[in-house]
Structure formats: structure tokens, C-alpha cells
Amino acid sequence: MKVLAAGVVPLLLVLHWKHGAGSPLPITPVNATCATRHPCPSNLMNQIRNQLGQLNSSANSLFILYYTAQGEPFPNNLDKLCSPNVTDFPPFHANGTEKARLVELYRIIAYLGASLGNITRDQKVLNPYAHGLHSKLNATADVLRGLLSNVLCRLCSKYHVSHVDVTYGPDTSGKDIFQKKKLGCQLLGKYKQNDHHQCLG
């Protein structure tokens, strides 16, 4: 059954994967070589688990910081302005093989990382004095980069996947300020939409 990814919650499911299940996806030719610059850490899955937990625990406070900094109507119209209806968010299938789920996780992380970069750039212009928001955005982006590296290391070392096609959200640079605020709020709403009970499941 195909499960549409909603927020980062599905990412947590990867923590319960068992090794060796399923067959590799045709992301990379079978004979293609994959070499990582550094050997993957021995506790790779633990690191991924911790990073996901870290993101999960800080997502809500980041969301609050963001919509508070935008001013009205954002704090009082979260359901409409910040609803997580991000249509181009990469899908996630919980019943796929480990490799497939890792690939999808990789795409999600890449999407989030790029979107967070746009938001950070916009907010530095729109809210230059919201230092708390800026530092929170930067910290989240740092964790996402580390998580992306770890997932790629896992894909490469175990499944010899060296390249994954990714998609990104819309570029907000040409949009008006209200749209930038709204798109950022929707993305962060999507980002924080996870169930805390499933955190580290």
C-alpha cells in the first residue's frame, strides 16, 4: 500500500527497518561503482535516528518562531495560511524495501534542505532582527545536511546507490513578500507535522 508522506513522521519509520529486505531500486545501474569519501560510521542508523529525533523535537518551536515573526494574519490563520498542502513534497512509501525507503528519505531531506535554505534567505531580508528565528533555521539546516550525508552513506555503502534524482520546492525569490511568508509557513507546517508519539517509535 502506498502511503503518502506527511511531514517527517514517515522518516521515523526508517528506524524500524530491517536489513536485507526487498530488492534494490533501479536508481543506479547494478554495475555502477559507489565510493564514499569516508567510511560510514559504525553506528550509522543510530545517528540517523538521533538526527531525526532532533529535527522532530525542534520542528514545532521553529514553526512557532516563524509564524510569530511574520505578524498578523499568520498566528491567527494557521489553518489556512500555513496548512501543509505542499503538493510537490516527495512521496514516501512505508511498505517499500529499505533501499526504496532510504531513497525516498533522501529525496525528502533534499527537498526540505533546499526549501529551508530559501526560507532562511528570505527571512534574513524580511525579518533581519529575528535572530532567534535565524539561528533556529540555521541549526535545522545543519542537521538536515548531516542527515542527508548519513542517508547517502547508507545508500552507497550497502546498496551502492551513488546518485538519487531529487526535486525541490518552488523558488521564492521572484515572489512577492506575502507569498514568501506564506510558502515558508506552509513548508514549516509540513515539516513540523508529525506525531510526537511516534518519535523514535
Binding site: 515573526a69 511574520q70 505578524g71 498578523e72 494574519p73 499568520f74 491567527n76 490563520n77 489556512k80 495560511l81 496548512s83 531580508v125 524580511l126 525579518n127 533581519p128 532582527y129 512577492d176 513578500i177 506575502f178 511568508k181 506564506k182
Partner: protein, 948 residues
């Protein structure tokens, strides 16, 4: 060309194109004029019409004049207050030659066709749009915002931040909101949003504050190489985009973009330009502000602060200060000013590179602060910033002798001198005082010198002297040397203290006191006192005065109102000897007494009593005690006694008051009182500031007139009676022995000791069971005999008074014992038995003769009689061994019964009137030895076993 100019030209605008600039909300027009000749330039006027929503709805019309060339593309823009996306606009124009070379008349050309500007075509398919996007407006201006809704049914509301706004409908789908006089909310913009059923949409409006003109624009140079211009930019415009500032010199035509909003640097070139005409231009999106000044480079030199300011060659009174300055231009000199803080002196020195100056006449061991600033010597305009440096001059020997005073006490005739000295002032110490030297010189023995060293910061020392004259020298020492000596002379004999004490009044300034000099050779005077006389030891203070002074004002921060200060004025002789001149006491401010005396009442009589408060000290009060008020209240009368006056007491009650105006009078006799009356009194002292606090009145009740009888007669009588009673009590034993001798204890009787020598040692005392009850019959009563009957149950009338009364012992008929015995009853021991009506019946030996009682006038007689009987009955018992072992309680006669006849007839079973204590002739009355024959004394006390 001349032909052309002579005829009107039908010139019309062609190729009119209209475009929309959404960012600036401008309609941009471009067109050409084709019919011009080559190289022909004409000044033309273009009249432009702009319509909204439909061509006929012209909303603006205006002229645009310019010089036109052939085939030139002309541009013109029009800014719309309404966002162009919200309405279709139509534009057309016509033209007219407005060139002076073309003679009138001049004609407008035909209108061009309407050109349509429709921005809505480029919009997407979102249900809601709000315009204009990211609009930048100036505070106080008006702005129009509109929305386009695709859903006709949707009810859309629009808000500025969280405030609902109302607009007007422009079209079926378009509403416009005109915001008047917009105000600044925040730097990050103001949100305007509209929301219906779908996702809210909005825009951000950036409101800028009005750009202010720069104020206080001025320029200066620190080194003739760079000109620095500064200004006050005013309040922030409130936008993230700051206004730009540009500095322009009209003389050189150069300009520079300033990097700061309040300061700009201008590099001086080598072209020896001295004068500049600077214009500062501040510019933002809405406004451009500018200010100008004329600046002469030489007149605006503000040197940099000097540096490396140091003291050199520091001595006790001199120091050389050195410093450096930054060079200005080529070999330019600076005027530097050296200041010594605190001295008020300034020294101006011309300096090119290094500055140096000698400061002299300084104080030893003093910290100074030297400051230096410099200005351009060629043309003074402004001092540089100050730099400062602290230094301390070297120490020198103290310059003044310490102020010394002494306190002399005599112990066993030897003077003990406590020397006090005041710390030298900073001006005179010239360094840190390390110790004080005290040199004691015996004037009677010039070779005798005693030297004491007292470490600082001590300010006193004690010296014990002999009965000689001494001169004492005190010097203060620092690390450099000693101060001049201060001398005090001490005589070996006590001073004359018999000086009458005067009074001195305190004022706000202190105590103004004066004295009369006694000798013409006085070298000075000293006034001494204690700062806090209430607390010991005394903190001795003194004041030295010159020989010409005959008065002074003594002031101290320690002086307090209500405290008595005692001053002693000494005259100092030429030999430095101090003689007590006067004693004065005073208060800085007198207060009312703080407490009242403890008053005792003495000599209380029926008509007077005496009040006494001799323990009340007048010296330690809060003012000079001037006397006492005696308040008296009596409950009997409202009239005051003689010498008393009626007064209203502080508690509003009425009382009598007597004033004692002698502070030494501490007794008062209240006279003319009524006997047996209650009086209340209260004594309070008074000073010049008032009387003491109101305390409770003390009650006194005068005795009656006869009380002295009570005291003089009855009390001695009571005393005598008490003495007699005490004597009787103390002699009670003797009386008892005489009147009521103790009943001997049978077990302790000496008879028992006799029994031990007999053959029947088991017989101790009589067993009641063995007794044969006998009746005692009085067979004869000798005349005049008196028998005491106790426990009489019958009245005397029941007795047969005619019957001769004599005592007989009859054996009981049913007696089966070994023999009769005599049984006496002692009611003291056997009261229960007597109550029951029984009596003891004791066996009596048959051989015993009748017990005859002689005249029983006394217990002794009865006892003797009985003794005689027993003696007779015992027969063989030798005299002296056979004793009666009882004492009859009945033998004590009572007065009431003395004359009574015997109450009881001789009935064997009833109690005899004569209760007998048993008298046992131990040898005969003993029952036969048996197991039960022994009888303890406790058995005797058992009434059930008394008689059977």
C-alpha cells in the same frame, strides 16, 4: 525649412504602445512622431488622456512637453494610485507644435486611438489576488489596495494587520480599499490581507518615515590629509533600506558616497585646495534632502590627542612631564596646554613632536593628575581630546608639630599622664606617619630622659610619672624624618579643681564660651570636653587657642541635643604648664526630662506625709533641672491645699500643683491633709524645655486619728501575747509532763526487766482474754474526794447519791480464769470499746484485798492508791520491782465532774463510771502458760476481744 516653418504641420503621435510596470504601478507609454523632417527638432506638447475600466471614463488628462526629433521614440510614464492589475486602463494622446519658430495659430492634432492596458490577462487562476505587491509608501500618505476575486459568491473581508477595512466595489470582481494617512508599524512591513473561504491572500506594505534633513553638518580635519564631515541624520526612516548619503564638493566637482549615515570622510588631494563647498545629499525612494557648508581646511584643524604622557624626575616638590603629539602637515606646530588638576594652574607649551615641562612647587607625598591637550597653533579652532596621567610626589618630613593634650590622674599620689594627639593633616604629614616619639624629660633631674615610640595610627599613650615636674615632647615621624616637637609640661602635684562650674548655652553653631584670663603671661588656652559624655571612656577633645583669645565657639558633629557637656578651660603658661581656669556645663539644646524620679512616701500621718526623691540625679538629665512640680489630687475635695494651685493635668483631669523652684530640694512635705483620705501625688522635674513625662499617680491613704493608739498600745500587747504563746509552746513539753504525763509503754516498762529474772519469763503483760471482768463498785465516797468520771453514760440523777461510794473489786461469777485481776480501761487507747458500752473486766487474784480508793483528789493519789493495792497483792514482790505499768487517763479530773457522784452502779457487765486501766501484778495475774496466752499490745486495741 522656411516653408515648413511657415505652415502648420499635421503632426500626430504614432505607434503608441502602453505597458504596465507592476513594481512601480506605472503605465509606460512610448510613441514616435514620423512626419518630422530630417534634422528637424521641434518643441511639441503632447496631451494625454487616461481612462479606467472603459474608454469614456477619463480619470486623468495632462500635457507633456518635449523637443522631438524625427523618428524619435518618446517615453512617458504615469503612476496610478490604483493598482493597475485591478482595472483596465485606456490611453490616448494628441500633439501640438509649441515651438517659437512656428507662428500661431497652433492646432492640436487628432487623438490617437485608445490603447488598452489590461494586467488581469496575465494573472493566473488563483481564486484571490491582492494588489499592489510590496508597495513602498511614505508615512502620512494615502494608498489604495484592491483585490480580485474569481469566486463571485465568496464573502471576502480585508484587514490591515488585524483591523477590518472597508472598501468600494470597482467591478464585479474587484474591490478597492483606500488607506488614508498610513502610519509606520514596523520595519518588516505591514500586512494587508483578505480572506474568504479559501486561502487568505495578502500584500506587505512598507511604510517609510519621512526622511529628515541632516542637522549639525560640520567638517574638520585631524591631520590636514582627511576631512571628516559629521551630521545628525535625524530619526530613522524605519525601513530596512537605509537612505543614501553623498558628499559633494562644488569647487572641485568631486563627490563621494558616504559609508555611514552620520559621518563621511573626504580625502584631501595634493592640489593645495584649502576651501571646499561641501553639499551633503540625503536621498531615499521618496525624498532628497541636502545641506551645504563652506569649509576652510586650515580653519578646521582638530588635532589628535597627544599620547605617551609620563612624569619624569619626580621629587617631593618637582616633576617633569613629557608627552608626544601627532604631526600635522609639514612642520606645523601645536599649542599644548598642560593642566595640573587641583592646582588650578595651566601651562601653555608650543610643541612640534615631543612636549616637556617642569612642574615645580608641588606638595610632598601628594597625588596629582596632569592633563594635556593640544590645538593647531597657526589657527586655533578646537582643542584635542585630553589625556591624563597620575603621579605622586616623594615624601618629606612632617612640617608641623602634632597637636598634643594631656589628661592627668593621680594614683597613690603619682601622676599618670595620658597623652593625646591629633593626627596631622594631609597637608602637614608629607608622607605616611609611621610612629610617634614621646620624650619624657624630668625637669628636676635633667639627665633623666625617657623615650617612648608609639606606632601609628595610635593617638594616645599613657605615662606614669613621679612627683616631679616634667616636660614631655611629642614628634611625628614618617619615612623621611620627624616633625617639629610639641611640648607639654606636667607638674607632679594635683591641679586645683576648686573652680566653680558655670553654665554655657548651646546654639546652632555650637557653644559660645568666654573666660577671664588670670595671668598676663599665658601662651594660650585649651578648652577640653568629651564628645560623648554618656559613654565611657570619654573621647577627649580639645581646642588650642592663642594667648589673645578670651572666647571661642566649640562645635562638633558629635554634639547632640539633650546631652550635658562639661567643658574645662585651661590656661597655658610660658612653661607649657596647664592651669584649670574655668569649668562650664551646657546643653546644645535643653530637652524636657525624659524620666521622673522614684518618689518614696515617708512620715505618713493622718494629716501629712513626706515625699522624697533623693536618688534622683540632676546631673545626668536632658537639661538643667530648674525644679520640680508636685501634683496632688484628692478624692474628697476639689479645693487645693495651701501653696498648691489648681491646674489642668495633661490627661485633662484637674489637680493641684506645687512648684519647687530649687533643683536641690528633693523632699516635700504634704500637709493639712484629712485623716482617712486617699490622696494621689506625682512628682516631675522641669527644665527650660518643659516638664517630665506624665506618669501614673501614686495613691496614699492617710490613717485615722486613733491609729497611733493601735500602734502604741495594741501592737505591744499583741507582741506580749505572742511572746507568752511562744514561751508556752516552747515549754509545752514541760507542761505536758507536769499536767498530762505520758502513758508508759508496757513493753518498755522496767517491770519486764524484772520478769526476766522470774521463772515464768513468758508472762509479759496481761492477756485480756484471761481477765475476769469485775465490776467496780463504789462503796464509799469519802467526803471531799473527787473522782473524775469520763465516758459517763448516765446522768447524775440516775446514780444513787445516797449510796456510800467506795470502790470494790468483785470477782465475776462466770469467771473461770486462773484468778481475778484488775482491769482499767484507758479510753485514749480504746475509745471504740467505750463507745460500745463495754468495759474491760480484768481478773483479780482472789487473795487480793479490796481495792480501795482513797480520796482521789488527783491522778497521783489514785496511782498511789493503786500502787499500794498492787503492792499489797503482790506480797512477795519486793518493793521497787513490782510497778504498775499504766497511767490512768481518768485520773485527770474535769471541772464539770468534780462534784458529780459516781455515775455507774457496780454492774459487772456495764461500764463502770470509773474506767480503769489495767494494773497487773505481773507475778500473780499471769495466766497459766499456754500457746494463746501471750497478748500483744495490738490485741488490746481490738474491741472485739476486750470482753467476752
Amino acid at each position: 525649412f522656411g516653408t515648413i516653418l511657415s505652415e502648420p504641420l499635421p503632426l500626430t503621435p504614432e505607434s503608441l504602445k502602453v505597458s504596465i510596470n507592476s513594481t512601480k504601478q506605472c503605465l509606460h507609454l512610448q510613441w514616435t512622431v514620423h512626419n518630422l523632417d530630417y534634422h528637424q527638432e521641434l518643441k511639441m506638447v503632447f496631451q494625454i488622456q487616461i481612462s479606467r475600466l472603459k474608454a469614456s471614463n477619463v480619470i486623468w488628462m495632462g500635457n507633456y512637453s518635449t523637443t522631438v526629433k524625427r523618428n524619435q521614440v518618446l517615453h512617458w510614464s504615469w503612476e496610478s494610485e490604483l493598482p493597475l492589475e485591478c482595472a483596465i486602463h485606456f490611453v490616448r494622446m494628441r500633439t501640438m507644435v509649441d515651438d517659437a519658430r512656428i507662428p500661431a495659430p497652433r492646432f492640436w492634432s487628432n487623438w490617437s486611438s485608445w490603447e488598452k492596458a489590461d494586467a488581469q490577462n496575465s494573472l493566473g487562476d488563483h481564486p484571490l489576488y491582492v494588489f499592489p505587491k510590496d508597495k513602498l509608501v511614505e508615512e502620512g500618505s494615502d494608498v489604495t489596495i484592491c483585490y480580485i476575486s474569481r469566486n463571485h459568491q465568496d464573502n471576502i473581508s480585508c484587514y490591515l494587520e488585524d483591523e477590518l477595512t472597508y472598501g468600494k466595489q470597482l467591478d464585479q470582481n474587484v474591490w478597492a480599499f483606500e488607506l488614508k494617512n498610513v502610519s509606520f508599524h514596523r520595519k518588516t512591513g505591514t500586512n494587508f490581507y483578505c480572506k474568504g473561504q479559501g486561502v487568505p491572500e495578502g500584500v506587505v506594505l512598507f511604510v517609510s518615515k519621512v526622511l529628515e534633513e541632516p542637522k549639525d553638518f560640520s567638517c574638520e580635519t585631524r591631520d590636514l590629509k582627511t576631512v571628516t564631515c559629521t551630521w545628525d541624520p535625524g530619526s530613522d526612516t524605519g525601513l530596512i533600506q537605509l537612505p543614501s548619503y553623498t558628499l559633494f564638493d562644488s569647487f572641485s566637482g568631486k563627490k563621494t558616497l558616504c559609508k555611514h549615515r552620520n559621518r563621511c570622510d573626504w580625502q584631501v588631494t595634493q592640489d593645495s585646495q584649502e576651501v571646499y563647498n561641501f553639499t551633503l545629499v540625503a536621498e531615499n525612494y521618496f525624498r532628497k534632502r541636502s545641506v551645504s557648508i563652506l569649509f576652510n581646511l586650515i580653519h578646521g584643524v582638530h588635532p589628535l590627542a597627544p599620547y605617551n604622557l609620563f612624569p619624569k624626575s619626580v621629587s617631593a616638590t618637582n616633576v617633569t612631564m613629557t608627552w608626544k603629539v601627532s604631526s600635522i602637515g609639514h612642520n606645523s606646530a601645536l599649542l599644548c596646554q598642560l593642566q595640573l588638576l587641583g592646582e588650578g594652574k595651566q601651562h601653555n607649551i608650543s610643541v612640534r613632536v615631543n612636549g616637556e615641562y617642569l612642574l615645580s612647587e608641588l606638595k610632598p607625598d601628594t597625588e596629582y593628575m596632569a592633563r594635556v591637550r593640544c590645538a593647531y597653533a597657526d589657527h586655533f579652532w578646537k582643542w584635542s581630546e585630553l589625556i591624563s596621567q597620575n603621579f605622586t610626589t616623594a615624601e618629606a618630613a612632617p612640617s608641623e608639630a602634632p597637636d598634643v593634650w594631656r589628661d592627668v590622674t593621680f594614683v597613690s599620689g603619682h601622676p599618670t599622664v595620658t597623652l593625646f594627639w591629633k593626627p596631622l593633616s594631609k597637608v602637614h604629614t608629607n608622607g605616611k606617619i609611621l610612629f610617634y616619639n614621646v620624650v619624657v624629660e624630668n625637669l628636676d633631674e635633667p639627665s633623666s630622659l625617657e623615650v617612648l615610640s608609639v606606632p601609628a595610627p595610635a593617638n594616645s599613650t599613657k605615662v606614669t610619672l613621679n612627683q616631679s615636674s616634667y616636660q614631655i615632647y611629642v614628634t611625628a615621624h614618617n619615612s623621611v624624618g620627624p616633625s617639629p616637637a610639641s611640648a607639654v609640661a606636667i607638674s607632679g602635684h594635683p591641679e586645683n579643681e576648686n573652680v566653680e562650674e558655670g553654665r554655657v548655652n548651646g546654639t546652632e553653631d555650637g557653644f559660645h564660651m568666654s573666660w577671664k584670663p588670670q595671668s598676663r603671661n599665658a601662651t594660650g588656652y585649651v578648652v577640653e570636653w568629651c564628645d560623648d559624655p554618656q559613654n565611657l571612656p570619654c573621647v577627649l577633645r580639645w581646642k588650642n587657642l592663642g594667648p589673645t583669645n578670651t572666647g571661642t565657639v566649640i562645635s562638633s558633629d558629635a554634639f547632640r541635643p539633650g546631652v550635658r557637656y562639661n567643658f574645662r578651660i585651661y590656661e597655658i603658661s610660658a612653661k607649657r604648664m596647664a592651669h584649670l581656669l574655668e569649668k562650664k556645663a551646657g546643653y546644645l539644646k535643653e530637652l524636657a526630662p525624659s524620666y521622673n524620679p522614684e518618689v518614696a512616701t515617708i512620715n505618713l500621718t493622718s494629716h501629712s506625709f513626706t515625699l522624697s526623691w533623693k536618688d534622683y540625679s540632676t546631673e545626668s538629665q536632658t537639661g538643667f533641672i530648674q525644679g520640680y512640680y508636685v501634683y496632688l489630687k484628692s478624692k474628697t475635695g476639689e479645693k487645693c491645699h495651701r501653696e498648691f494651685e489648681k491646674t489642668i493635668l495633661p490627661d485633662n483631669s484637674v489637680g493641684c500643683k506645687y512648684t519647687i523652684d530649687n533643683p536641690d530640694q528633693k523632699t516635700f512635705v504634704v500637709k493639712d491633709l484629712q485623716p482617712e483620705s486617699v490622696y494621689e501625688f506625682f512628682v516631675t522635674p522641669y527644665t527650660s524645655a518643659g516638664e517630665g513625662p506624665l506618669d501614673d499617680f501614686t495613691k496614699v491613704t492617710t490613717p485615722d486619728d486613733y491609729s497611733h493608739i493601735l500602734i502604741h498600745i495594741i501592737l505591744p500587747m499583741i507582741f506580749c501575747v505572742l511572746v507568752v504563746m511562744i514561751t508556752c509552746y516552747l515549754k509545752s513539753q514541760w507542761l505536758k509532763d507536769k499536767c498530762y504525763p505520758d502513758i508508759p509503754d508496757p513493753y518498755k516498762s522496767s517491770v519486764l526487766s524484772l520478769i526476766k529474772f522470774k521463772e515464768n519469763p513468758r508472762i509479759t503483760i496481761m492477756n485480756v482474754n484471761d481477765c475476769v471482768p469485775d465490776a467496780i463498785e463504789v462503796v464509799n465516797k469519802p467526803e471531799g474526794s473527787k473522782i473524775q468520771f469520763t465516758g459517763t453514760r448516765k446522768s447524775p440523777t440516775e446514780t444513787k447519791g445516797t449510796k456510800p461510794v467506795y470502790l470494790d473489786l468483785l470477782p465475776t461469777e462466770n469467771y473461770s480464769g486462773p484468778g481475778p485481776c484488775i482491769c482499767f480501761e484507758n479510753f485514749t487507747y480504746n475509745q471504740a470499746a467505750s463507745d460500745l458500752g463495754y468495759c474491760g473486766h480484768f481478773p483479780v487474784t482472789p487473795q487480793a484485798p479490796h481495792c480501795q480508793l482513797g480520796p482521789l483528789t488527783s491522778p497521783e493519789n489514785l496511782l498511789k492508791t493503786l500502787e499500794q493495792n498492787y503492792m499489797n497483792s503482790l506480797g512477795e514482790i519486793p518493793a521497787g520491782e513490782a510497778n504498775l505499768n499504766y497511767v490512768s487517763q481518768l485520773a485527770s479530773p474535769t471541772s464539770g465532774d468534780k462534784e458529780s457522784p459516781p455515775a455507774n452502779p457496780p454492774e459487772p457487765v456495764l461500764c463502770s463510771e470509773y474506767k480503769m486501766q489495767m494494773a497487773i501484778p505481773l507475778g500473780l495475774a499471769s495466766p497459766a502458760p499456754s500457746e494463746n496466752s501471750s497478748l500483744s499490745s495490738t490485741a488490746l486495741l481490738n474491741p472485739s476481744e476486750h470482753c467476752h
